[in-house]
């Protein structure tokens, strides 16, 4: 079943067409890869899905319902969460706070409840806190929970990004280059975490990645984007040998 379906989407930035009548689907329960040369429109596509950009035309369906036109926070409410190419942790906040801020519909997020009914907040905070600790244990950052997020290493910030998405109890997670700047050991851990999240939590992943090694290991199927449109789709091994893909990456081979 198609969890995410993009139909004929177009995005223009003034005169530049970043996404050009792109259509694709992400099946539930997969780890779908999205590859393509620089400037192919991958991140723009993520921004369109998650409500950070508005499409010029086309439709985006999530679980059969339209999500194009929704604001970023509304997309999250539907169950789609993203990470960023360059981690955007909340620097002056602790690792724990970075996660505890995420859960939706917290009663204590209204200014009145903490003032007038603090006991409600207290109970809720205990639950959110234990959930945050659980997610931190899952990604292996539990020891750093009281550290300021700005002090984490690059790789730890990547893990924190993943933890932030899991904290939202998502159905679909969009990872924008999870492997960039991550050492091989951490990469193994990241791959294991993503696979475990899919297996145990039923999360579907849609992953932009340049590291072909990681793509081969992690993703199936793989979608190839070039100049704003999909040019190939299929199992990683097959996509890798597709002449259209080779041409897009290397240029003018045919």
């Amino acid at each position: 079943m198609a969890l995410l379906e993009i139909r004929d989407i177009v995005k223009d930035f003034d005169g530049v067409r970043a996404v050009d009548h792109c259509s694709l689907t992400v099946e539930a329960g997969t780890i779908t890869g999205l590859i393509g040369p620089n400037g192919a429109g991958k991140t723009t596509l993520f921004n369109l899905i998650t409500g950070f950009h508005r499409r010029t035309s086309g439709t985006i369906l999530f679980d059969g319902r339209r999500i194009d036109g929704l604001a970023a926070h509304q997309v999250v409410a539907r169950g789609i969460v993203r990470t960023f190419q360059i981690p955007r942790e909340l620097k002056a906040m602790t690792v724990l706070d970075n996660l505890m801020v995420v859960p939706a519909h917290q009663a204590g997020e209204s200014p009145w409840v903490p003032l007038l009914a603090p006991w409600r907040v207290r109970r809720e905070e205990r639950m959110i806190r234990s959930k945050a600790v659980e997610v931190l244990e899952f990604v292996g950052l539990a020891d750093l929970q009281t550290e300021l997020a700005g002090n984490l290493s690059g790789g730890q910030k990547k893990l924190l990004e993943l933890a932030r998405t899991l904290m939202a109890e998502p159905r679909l997670v969009l990872l924008d280059e999870p492997g960039a700047g991550v050492n091989p050991t951490l990469m193994k851990k990241l791959v294991a975490d993503i696979e475990a999240a899919r297996r145990d939590r039923g999360v579907t992943f849609f992953v932009i990645e340049h590291d072909m090694d990681l793509v081969m290991r992690l993703c199936d199927p793989v979608i190839v984007l070039s100049e704003g449109a999909t040019i190939a789709e299929g199992p990683p091994a097959k996509v890798q040998t597709n002449p259209l893909v080779l041409e897009a990456y290397l240029g003018g081979l045919t």
Binding site: A92, V101, A104, G108, S110, E125, R129, Q145
Partner: protein, 338 residues
């Protein structure tokens, strides 16, 4: 120096410093928590001060308000409301009214400007503050224009002898400050405050975490403005004279920023501490000999303190610190379990 004179001076100092502390608390909600670059504090300052003055019953002596029809008439039309025994509760009405008017105006301003980020919001708030001042200057029917409002009646002025009034007002101001501090502390050390801090750190991440950034910013803007309105009201009752010239950017905006920066942005105790320190430096230096006592030099001194604090303790004297999310009222009960 005679002891009574000294005492009076110190009381007057604490009263004004505490009023500034109220403003610093409001600014801390804007900047310290939500990261809203509001350099138009003077606008809410003026709005709160004028609102409370206009709402105050012109009961004591109508002649005091002969130039000042609007406020007098307005108050007269409310005749017969809250007087409990000899307790004149107009003060409370005026205080809450000032907060409410600032909140409503902040809602309107915020709706128009809070989609702007950083510097652009600053420019907008600066312009709006000046506009508010100009409205009070030019709309003579409203608040007597440039002649200003004077002899604003004292709260409970008939309860104590005039010479003892300062003691009473000191208590009132400190009680209001304490209530506001406790309330703000509770509201900001909560999931709500956590979302604000997230927005301050990175709006994009906050949105990507499912938070309606605009809604939270608007709430913070309104709350901070309402607190500033209460500060303005206390100010009006203290000086008992308001004119549009009272609200110049130096003493109604800049110095409050200095207080928050020095005391510690993101820390409510820091905001209060900063208010007392900066106001102390500003007032105690006026008696220095020669050029040292000139406003220009004192201003330089405050600038110097800001720079020194920024270099030595970039977060301010108290600073935000490493908060582990836990509501203020249970902070002592447990240390983070690992």
């Amino acid at each position: 120096m005679d002891i009574i004179g000294n005492l009076d001076y110190n009381i007057a100092f604490v009263v004004v410093a505490a009023i500034y502390a109220v403003f610093a608390l409001g600014l801390n909600v804007h900047w310290g928590y939500a990261g809203l670059f509001n350099i138009g504090i003077a606008g809410f300052f003026a709005l709160g001060a004028y609102t409370s003055a206009l709402l105050t019953k012109a009961s004591a002596d109508p002649r005091l308000f002969e130039d000042f029809k609007f406020g007098g008439n307005l108050a007269a039309s409310f005749e017969g409301i809250p007087v409990v025994g000899s307790l004149d509760l107009w003060f409370v009405v005026a205080l809450l009214g000032a907060a409410a008017v600032c909140a409503v105006v902040a809602l309107g301003i915020g709706f128009l400007t809070l989609r702007l980020r950083g510097d652009y919001l600053a420019i907008a708030t600066l312009g709006i503050a000046e506009s508010i001042r100009l409205v009070f200057l030019n709309e003579k029917w409203l608040a007597n224009g440039s002649k200003g409002l004077y002899n604003i009646p004292r709260f409970l002025g008939d309860v104590v002898a005039p010479r003892n009034y300062d003691y009473l007002f000191l208590v009132v101001v400190l009680v209001v400050l304490a209530i506001l501090y406790l309330a703000v502390e509770r509201i900001t050390k909560s999931p709500w405050g956590r979302v604000l801090r997230a927005i301050r750190e990175d709006e994009t991440t906050a949105a990507a975490s499912g938070k309606n950034v605009f809604k939270f910013k608007l709430q913070a803007f309104i709350l901070g403005a309402a607190i500033m309105g209460i500060g303005g009201a206390l100010f009006a009752y203290n000086v008992r004279f308001l004119s549009p010239l009272t609200f110049d950017p130096l003493l109604a905006t800049f110095i409050i920023w200095a207080m928050l920066m020095v005391g510690g942005s993101g820390n409510n105790k820091g905001a209060i501490l900063g208010a007392f320190i900066v106001w102390g430096v500003w007032t105690r230096t006026q008696f220095l000999p020669r050029f040292l006592g000139e406003p220009e030099f004192r201003l330089f001194l405050i600038g110097f303190i800001i720079v020194a604090v920024m270099l030595l303790r970039p977060g301010g004297i108290l600073g935000e610190g490493r908060k582990v999310s836990r509501p203020a009222w249970q902070q002592k009960t447990a240390s983070p379990e690992t």
